[in-house]
């Protein structure tokens, strides 16, 4: 029983990264009605950019992290202005397939540039653990939690207290009406996309520092993000955050059964949700 807090904590750390990625996904889907199956690649690229800035360029962690997030946000803006603009109003099939193609492209690009071997981002902290309240952890894991908490607070504040934030919420609910009221949809989409990409990149930078960086992490992240969104509902940010944390914790406890069971946990949860709360023909209209 002693180990429960530890597993809980570990789960929260990983879950935080899921939450950050899922929030961006939710924003893009809710706002632009595009299921972005390439979203996890922002996570991967954030990590690789951090690796590149630290190991190759030689920056310290903090400026490298900032530069990485910024670079990925730029990429996000570029993609939004080109591909995603074309995908607006497209059928779900089109956006799913196009973004899957994009995802494969980006993953193989990374594979080509950086190779398949896992890399490591140097940590800015002194090696060694911290022990508190019976939980053993490291500073970088605490950083992950702290950053996520800060992001959640900022996000809540921005969405509820700034004009842009309110515009986002309005557009979320009623796109045509929002356009009529004079909200600049294009700028809003670009901004939201950039922030979504940036959050995923941030998660990538920190988690890449805690664990490893490799090209395949993007695809996995996308899968996890969609699992979160399927569990928690794709129409609310809160759902994305809580869903992400929940998945992280569930996976953490899943490793008690077997280490390889970690990934299967998410799958099992999705199947269970479909059994007990399916979105059917009638579910849509009831």
């Amino acid at each position: 029983m002693d180990f429960i807090p530890q597993y809980l904590f570990n789960g929260l750390v990983v879950g935080s990264s899921y939450a950050l990625i899922a929030v961006g996904l939710t924003a893009i889907f809710g706002l632009m009605q595009i299921a972005n199956f390439a979203h996890g690649q922002f996570y991967m690229l954030g990590a690789f950019m951090a690796y590149w800035f630290t190991r190759v360029i030689g920056l310290n962690f903090w400026p490298a992290a900032a530069a990485s997030v910024f670079a990925v946000m730029l990429l996000g803006i570029l993609l939004e202005r080109t591909l995603f603009r074309l995908l607006r109003g497209a059928s779900l099939s089109s956006s799913v397939l196009a973004t899957i193609a994009l995802s494969i492209f980006l993953e193989n690009l990374a594979l080509h540039v950086w190779g398949p071997r896992p890399q490591k981002i140097p940590s800015p902290f002194e090696p060694g653990g911290i022990e508190a309240l019976g939980i053993f952890t490291t500073p970088d894991r605490l950083l992950m939690l702290g950053i996520t908490a800060a992001v959640v607070v900022c996000l809540h504040g921005a969405l509820h207290y700034t004009t842009t934030g309110k515009a986002v919420r309005a557009t979320f609910q009623q796109r045509e009406a929002a356009a009529l009221v004079g909200i600049d949809i294009d700028k809003l989409y670009t901004l939201t996309f950039a922030i979504g990409a940036g959050l995923a990149a941030l998660a990538g930078v920190i988690l890449g520092m805690i664990f490893v960086v490799q090209p395949s992490m993007g695809g996995v992240a996308t899968l996890k993000a969609f699992i979160v969104v399927t569990l928690g509902g794709i129409s609310s940010f809160a759902g994305g955050i809580f869903g992400g944390l929940l998945l992280g914790i569930a996976e953490s406890f899943g490793t008690i059964i077997a280490p390889s069971f970690k990934d299967a946990v998410g799958f099992v949860l999705v199947l269970m949700i479909l059994l007990y709360k399916p979105d059917g023909l009638f579910g849509k209209w009831s």
Binding site: A35, S93, I104, F105, V229, L275, D279
Partner: protein
């Protein structure tokens, strides 16, 4: 054997079919190098896979992205039946198909009640689960190592003539026969009232339901049928390569099938066939750029989906001044 009905294009297609059939039949003689026969056989397997996927994606409008799982389950079924019971191809073909169909039916109970991104992600997850099972259930599947030693059949006619299908040319003809039967069957289904219902489902699900058509039922039929043929393809593949492994569950296989469907033109039967042929030849032609293959292919898929979603069939129809989807008269290939 493939019945073409309908006044409009049948004449032209009928004439094109004859030389095509002739070429296909004498291919082993035309092609000197054994390797190209190998490519042809793999191509035939993918023809079945692409057409079966098109039933779901093109006709029903269901984006089932775990399709390779049915292929892989079929391959494993064939492997296990052969290695443990000595079942020859003739039996495993059907058994694999039925096994894959059964799994599809069970999965369908779960997944065919939802649409949209939930459906997509669940089918993707399903293939991943298949891979995890194949990887971890080492007692049965030998995990990562896979199951080798699945041999092609030996046909004994009246105890006098013996054909050993281990020869590539012989297996080519076998694959050609099986593929033709499968594609013809799927063609007939797609052009029957069952196919009409699938198209209706794709065009407007709510209206289809209101028109007295059991949408859940037709989706299930399509799901099960496409899985059946994917399973058959799995058996065909297993007996040819002689080896199955969890790799067969990888998403790259589904991506390949998707490209074939979109390249040739979804919602037709001819389209995926053409797409499969082209897309099997293309990677061979691009051997030089082997490293960049996936990048090029994914870029291709992206361009196709965004700019030419109707594929080659659509472009062809645009040039001949007619839009395929819109006419949709029965009898069009």
């Amino acid at each position: 054997m493939v019945v073409m009905i309908g006044p409009r294009r049948s004449a032209g297609i009928r004439w094109a079919m004859l030389p095509l059939a002739a070429i296909l039949l004498i291919l082993p003689c035309l092609v000197g190098i054994d390797y190209y026969l190998h490519v042809a056989i793999v191509c035939l397997v993918f023809v079945i896979l692409a057409v079966s996927l098109d039933l779901l994606v093109g006709y029903c409008g269901l984006l089932s992205l775990g399709h390779t799982a049915f292929f892989a389950f079929g391959a494993y079924a064939a492997a296990l039946l052969y290695l443990h019971l000595g079942a020859p191809l003739w039996i495993t073909l059907f058994a694999s198909g039925v096994f894959a169909a059964l799994i599809a039916w069970l999965l369908g109970l779960l997944v065919l009640g939802v649409r949209g991104h939930r459906f997509v992600i669940t089918t993707i997850i399903f293939a991943e689960i298949g891979r995890l099972i194949a990887y971890n259930w080492t007692d049965v599947t030998h995990g990562q190592v896979g199951l080798p030693g699945i041999r092609p059949p030996v046909l004994s006619i009246l105890g006098v003539l013996e054909i050993d299908f281990a020869s590539r040319a012989a297996y080519y003809y076998l694959a050609l026969a099986i593929t033709t039967v499968c594609v013809a069957a799927m063609w007939r289904i797609a052009h029957s009232p069952i196919g009409w219902r699938m198209v209706a489902l794709r065009e407007n699900e709510r209206l289809t339901e209101a028109s007295g058509i059991d949408t859940r039922g037709i989706a299930t039929i399509a799901f099960v049928l496409s899985a059946f043929f994917a399973g058959v393809a799995g058996s065909l593949y297993a007996h040819y390569t002689g080896f199955v492994s969890p790799d067969l569950f990888y998403f790259t296989y589904t991506t390949t099938m998707l490209i074939m469907v979109f390249l040739g033109g979804k919602g037709t039967i001819v389209g995926p066939v053409v797409g499969a042929v082209l897309f099997t030849i293309l990677p061979e032609a691009l051997r030089v750029a082997a490293d960049f293959r996936l990048m090029i292919f994914s870029a291709m898929l992206l361009v196709l989906v965004v700019f030419a979603p109707e594929g080659l069939a659509g472009l062809f129809n645009r040039f001949t001044g007619r839009s395929r989807k819109l006419t949709m008269r029965p009898g069009d290939a």
